[in-house]
């Protein structure tokens, strides 16, 4: 399983899945931040946008359908929603407009330290109109939940960027389940050599976590980033699309920084609606099915009118299957 959405896209872009020897199959994992974010989160963001709050978000989130609307539609209806590439851009918006600005803090261990640093900067600059609506997720707890049931997986292609923060040792738990992992970069050569390492271990019945991306990843990861992250955020149980609630798999703003937490700053009322019928994003995210096995795939659910998040996000596996074939 390639855990990371960026790997899914790279594999399809290079066409590597067509070059695999018989008997080897790659399945996509839950490593696309937009994909694993539940509907209810979009509903919260939409509700905040309707309160007249400026919403700053990574562009990918705008088209994700919530249960009734999307941020893209709210923007066309007049809400102030801005696509940004960095949480620091959101800080700047807060400083320039003087209006309540909410940054949609979505992502894994890779983006969380940057968001924490931006939050600290907001405090430093005494910006009291900036807050975070968090849906940050942690990779190891999700992998633990995934392998708790028999998946038929023989090994993991582990995410290069996330590993740069958490380090190689963070995956040692895989070994107890007799599963190997190779941390990989994102070039075709990186991925091919990592797959070779995985296959070699598999064939020799060896179980190890190897670091095949030493330029960016150390055994213990980036402690400085983790310190910044831990200053602002604390682990909480969190909902993943497809995987349900996983203990300790999310990050929330610590109570000490309550002012930075949009959920404490605003009253957010959302109406729940039934989830998209027929959408099997959840099963895709667990590697249980390939995208074409979903009845909506490339029929009702297409890149130009996505119904499920795996089709919305450019890193989603459904989108990668349609886009690159």
């Amino acid at each position: 399983m390639e855990v990371c959405g960026t790997h899914t896209v790279a594999i399809r872009r290079f066409g590597l899945q067509r070059l695999l020897p018989a008997g080897v199959k790659l399945v996509s994992g839950p490593g696309c931040p937009v994909c694993v974010t539940p509907d209810s989160y979009i509903d919260e963001a939409v509700a905040l946008a309707r309160q007249g709050v400026v919403i700053a978000s990574f562009g990918d989130m705008l088209r994700v359908p919530g249960s009734r609307s999307s941020l893209e539609k709210e923007r066309a209806a007049g809400a102030d929603i801005r696509a940004v590439y960095s949480p620091l851009d959101a800080l700047q918006i807060a400083a320039e407009t003087g209006r309540e600005t909410v940054f949609l803090a979505v992502g894994f261990e890779t983006t969380a330290p940057g968001i924490a640093a931006a939050a600290m900067k907001a405090l430093e600059n005494k910006l009291d109109n900036f807050s975070l609506l968090t849906a940050l997720r942690l990779v190891p707890p999700a992998l633990k939940a995934l392998i708790a049931v028999d998946t038929g997986l023989s090994g993991f292609l582990l995410p290069g960027h996330v590993s740069a923060i958490i380090g190689r040792k963070a995956y040692d738990f895989l070994l107890q389940h007799r599963l190997s992992g190779v941390i990989s970069g994102f070039s075709a050569e990186d991925i091919i050599s990592s797959l070779l390492l995985l296959l070699e271990m598999h064939n020799k019945d060896i179980y190890k976590i190897l670091n095949n991306y030493p330029a960016a990843v150390r055994d213990s990861g980036n402690e400085k980033s983790r310190t910044v992250l831990a200053e602002v955020f604390e682990p909480v149980d969190a909902e993943w699309r497809g995987l349900g609630f996983i203990a300790g798999s999310g990050l929330n703003v610590r109570p000490a920084y309550a002012g930075l937490d949009s959920r404490r700053r605003f009253t957010i009322k959302t109406e729940s609606a039934s989830p998209q019928r027929g959408c099997r994003c959840g099963d895709v995210l667990r590697g249980l099915i390939d995208p074409p096995a979903c009845p909506l795939f490339n029929k009702a659910c297409r890149p130009d009118q996505p119904l499920g998040p795996c089709m919305v996000s450019s890193e989603g596996s459904c989108s990668a299957w349609v886009t690159y074939g």
Partner: protein
């Protein structure tokens, strides 16, 4: 569809949807429905385009140069010599006259380069906040000079696909010029009038010719293949994508094939004419890096595929919605 979204203006499949589901219900002249870059009238071609780029000035060009080149190139890829242009300005109250003069100087220069004359013009000023600095529309009339009409229905399997130089420069230039991404380093836009180059090839039979602007090469090739009995196959190893463009795209998660060009032309010619076409293109400054990037195939009808560097193959889709807002 109850509201127009930014994605509807991106030039990809969302734009096509807006055109099909809204515009064509009311406007359906047969000439319009041909959906070419310009309309073929008896003895002439006619085209129009509006320009809303942000920022107004970027390395290698500005909104004025873009406004002239955009329409001139739409005429040129129909095999027509651009003759007359109209130009209309919508200017926001408070706009600097010095900036306006800079834009006008650039318009005059681009006209000299392309040989087209601006023969009618209009200006409107709107209240502050009702436009973003300046918007420009140009329309143009050209005279077809190619012996055989540029007509995609004459494309055949075995034909080859050519492009005149590096891809992705305009979109990436405008993007980095915005400074929104903390990206430094100047990448010059390729914005240029193409008629000089295209004229060199006028003795050839060119069944398909397009400027891959919004939506990039992927959009242009998909328009070529869509609904046809042939497929389009390009070679990753032959695509001229500058390292700087590839680096920015990698960083921001864009496909360089989706990024706009404003001084590029994609041509399809019979294989036997390929060498001649390359020679003609290379005899012009804008064509010095011309090369063959792919071919028309009988396999995969209606689709665009790419032979990857790793020896595999993948699909090349047109972009869906808003890639980079307001690049032209």
């Amino acid at each position: 569809m109850d509201k127009v979204l930014l994605a509807h203006g991106g030039g990809g499949s969302k734009s096509a949807e807006l055109t099909r589901r809204v515009f064509q219900r009311f406007l359906h002249d047969p000439l319009l429905l041909e959906m070419d870059d310009a309309a073929r009238l008896p003895g002439q071609v006619f085209s129009t385009d509006s320009f809303v780029v942000k920022p107004l000035f970027f390395p290698g060009g500005d909104i004025g140069r873009l406004a002239v080149c955009g329409t001139v190139n739409d005429l040129a890829v129909m095999g027509a010599e651009p003759l007359y242009l109209s130009i209309a300005f919508i200017i926001e109250e408070g706009f600097s006259v010095m900036q306006l003069e800079k834009i006008l100087a650039s318009i005059a220069r681009a006209c000299r380069e392309s040989g087209a004359r601006i023969v009618c013009a209009d200006t409107k000023v709107v209240e502050r906040g009702k436009a973003d600095g300046i918007f420009i529309n140009t329309s143009g009339i050209g005279r077809p000079l190619f012996k055989k009409p540029v007509q995609p229905s004459r494309v055949r399997p075995g034909d080859v696909i050519l492009v005149n130089g590096p891809l992705g420069l305009h979109g990436v230039s405008v993007l980095t010029a915005r400074g929104e991404f903390g990206l430094k380093g100047k990448i010059k836009s390729d914005v240029a009038p193409l008629w000089g180059l295209i004229k060199k090839c006028r003795s050839l039979d060119i069944p398909f010719m397009r400027d891959p602007t919004r939506g990039g090469l992927a959009q242009t090739l998909n328009e070529l293949a869509q609904g046809k009995k042939f497929g389009v196959r390009i070679l990753e190893s032959e695509l001229p994508i500058p390292r700087k463009v590839a680096a920015v795209c990698d960083l921001l998660g864009f496909d360089p094939l989706h990024v706009a060009n404003e001084g590029k032309v994609v041509m399809v010619v019979a294989r036997r004419d390929a060498a001649k076409a390359l020679k003609m293109m290379r005899s012009h400054l804008l064509g010095k890096d011309a090369r063959v990037i792919g071919e028309i195939t009988s396999e995969n009808p209606g689709r665009v595929t790419m032979a990857t560097r790793t020896g595999s193959e993948r699909i090349v889709m047109a972009p869906v919605g808003e890639i980079l807002p307001r690049i032209c």
